[in-house]
Subunit: 270 residues, 3 copies
């Protein structure tokens, strides 16, 4: 067995952190292939990393899914490996990062703490578990080492779970939260098409967006190209989240929002 | 057949767009090898992407060349696959992005619209054709699927072509345009050595550069190391474009230019 | 033979420089696997590149180690390939970049100038030796070409060496220099645990940091998670350098330091 290890972190590419982890994996499992999902998660952005991972994994080959966004490194949080109901393996810290992705594949059926030093580097630093603990565990799993070899079992119910921000749905108005902003300035919201239905906002409706006290008009549209340059649109993005974009511009810059910002959507009734 | 897929986009590496496309390719063609040319093209920078692709491809193995800079995604622009005269395959949007590269290999001999759903993902979103349409098509081509299977033929003459900015050559003066600025602040111009000859500017000439009304002196030089720190030089870059650099500094910052800026070059006749 | 080529540069990922070098390597040695250590070294940052390389290589598979941070490209500096005492091969410019890494493996036992045009691209530009000279040499070495084939030998003693900044150790005070700042804002110093011992600063000591005339308090700690958010800590980083961090924040932003900045550490005696 070798196959694929996917890799997602908040390490960035400015330093050698990602490259060094690649090296660690390749020394243990030279034949495995690594797919870098992204290393551009905001430093410490556990929720952003978890959502990105959950969105990406359905598109990539099954294998070992290594993810490290780990502001609590060196503290009490447990290092984990787990198996989901479809047999994919996930490796990372027990801070909620792995669970939204595992839930896409039926949820966690088996979890183990990384405690067996035979599957870590000889010397484990206190600040770089990506290199010393998680990458080696992922590499050994890709070689077929049984999950149970890595350490004692953990009850899946006892794993740390993230709280996702919940939208407040009213009549003809929704109080939403920005989940993230992508390179193009498109704004992902904690909403799906069903939330719009619930609020009675039908496709094609002209809506008002309220950000930081300022009001903007937007139209529900199906794609960027339906809109004129500069027009704000509310659309279902390619991961089936609702999102806000501005044709040929950055919606995040226009509305001055970032991850965690509030955004009020209300039907524009002139 | 498997070989290589090269990959160039304006997706950046902050999000999972590139990693997800890698995953899509690997699910279809696990044995193909992906070479990331760059994903740092300015968002929507079709001309920049086209020129970068044309400069890079002569240095990389022949294969399938996937490129996505696609501000018109979801609109009327056609998704394409084409073959050049040397047998390389190119996949991307019909917005001019692919043609300067194909021209380096004798031009387009066969083009097809991506219309066959058998070679796309099951569900094609309106905003992420890189993942849903272009990556799958490239993967299938790398497995040996014939180009004609992907969809109806298009007359190569009917493909969208970019207009490259044309320099205005006078006697001892050239009005040029900045094509791009690289990480080191070096400025690529829409000029070759032949344009300098035409204007009567010989190697070693001292020239004046005029940017935004300000005047700077530069010398035609062969390499950065011919110049003293801080000196501006006009030189033929490694892709045989004329470029402006400043030894151990950023010429773009000094001249405050960016892609699309005007730059006047005139012989300095004191 | 094929194996691994590791690759470190200051090219960044915005342009196609790295991707084009990958292409050049793959045309010569299609079966070799490239591990990108990082391409985020500060432009021209030879010392930063050298230290990063020396820190990373012990974690990656032995092979050919290609590194290009080369502000003197096209000038008099020699292009090199060398072998260390453990048999690893290193390729890059003779400006000191390669030597701290080679020293980790017993030092340089054999060095050759890259002078044989059979192992370079046909046309060698004056400004992009990464593509035209270094990448091809690394690829040919990975195929088993003997080092001596690449060009005339150079006495290892004659290679250019970097001067590392030396700390000034006093009683209960150390004048140190910032070697680098990582993505998380952690500050690497030119110090090891032994320097602290020498100055009589024992673990757990409360110290004062002086940067640009401003004073800050820090505590020697073992990991980020020992500290409260906002606390400055002085700790041994995962490469066994002393470093300064602030829990859940950027120490570099707080202390307004960058590579090369001075940082005074003194025991806080109230």
């Amino acid at each position: 067995m070798s196959g694929f290890i996917t890799f997602l972190t908040d390490f960035g590419l400015q330093d050698d952190f990602v490259g060094t982890c690649h090296g660690v994996i390749k020394r243990i499992a030279p034949g495995v292939e690594i797919i870098d999902l992204t290393h551009g998660v905001r430093p410490g952005g556990i929720l952003q990393g978890a959502l990105t991972l959950a969105n990406a994994l359905p598109y990539v080959p099954a294998g070992v899914h290594l993810a490290v966004v780990d502001p609590g490194v060196g503290g009490g949080r447990r290092p984990l490996a787990l198996r989901d109901a479809e047999g994919r393996l996930h490796v990372g810290p027990d801070n909620g990062l792995l669970l939204p992705a595992a839930d896409r594949f039926g949820g966690v059926v088996e979890a183990h703490e990384l405690a067996n030093p035979a599957y870590a580097l000889e010397s484990v630093s206190r600040t770089f578990h990506g290199r010393d603990l998680f990458a080696p565990a992922a590499a050994h799993l890709s070689l077929g080492v049984p999950l149970a070899e890595l350490g004692p079992p953990i009850d899946p119910e006892a794993l740390v779970r993230l709280e996702l921000p919940v939208p407040d749905i009213g009549h003809a108005r929704i109080q939403s939260t920005v989940l993230g902003v992508d390179r193009f300035g498109n704004i992902a919201l904690n909403l799906t098409r069903e939330h719009l239905d619930e609020a009675g906002i039908v496709p094609g409706t002209r809506v008002e967006l309220v950000s930081r006290g300022d009001h903007y008009f937007a139209v529900a549209a199906r794609t960027f190209s339906d809109a004129k340059p500069g027009d704000l649109i509310l659309y279902e993005d390619s991961y089936r989240n609702l999102a806000v974009a501005v044709a040929q511009g950055s919606a995040a810059a226009l509305l001055t929002v970032e991850e965690g910002s509030d955004l009020l959507i209300q039907v524009d009734t002139p």
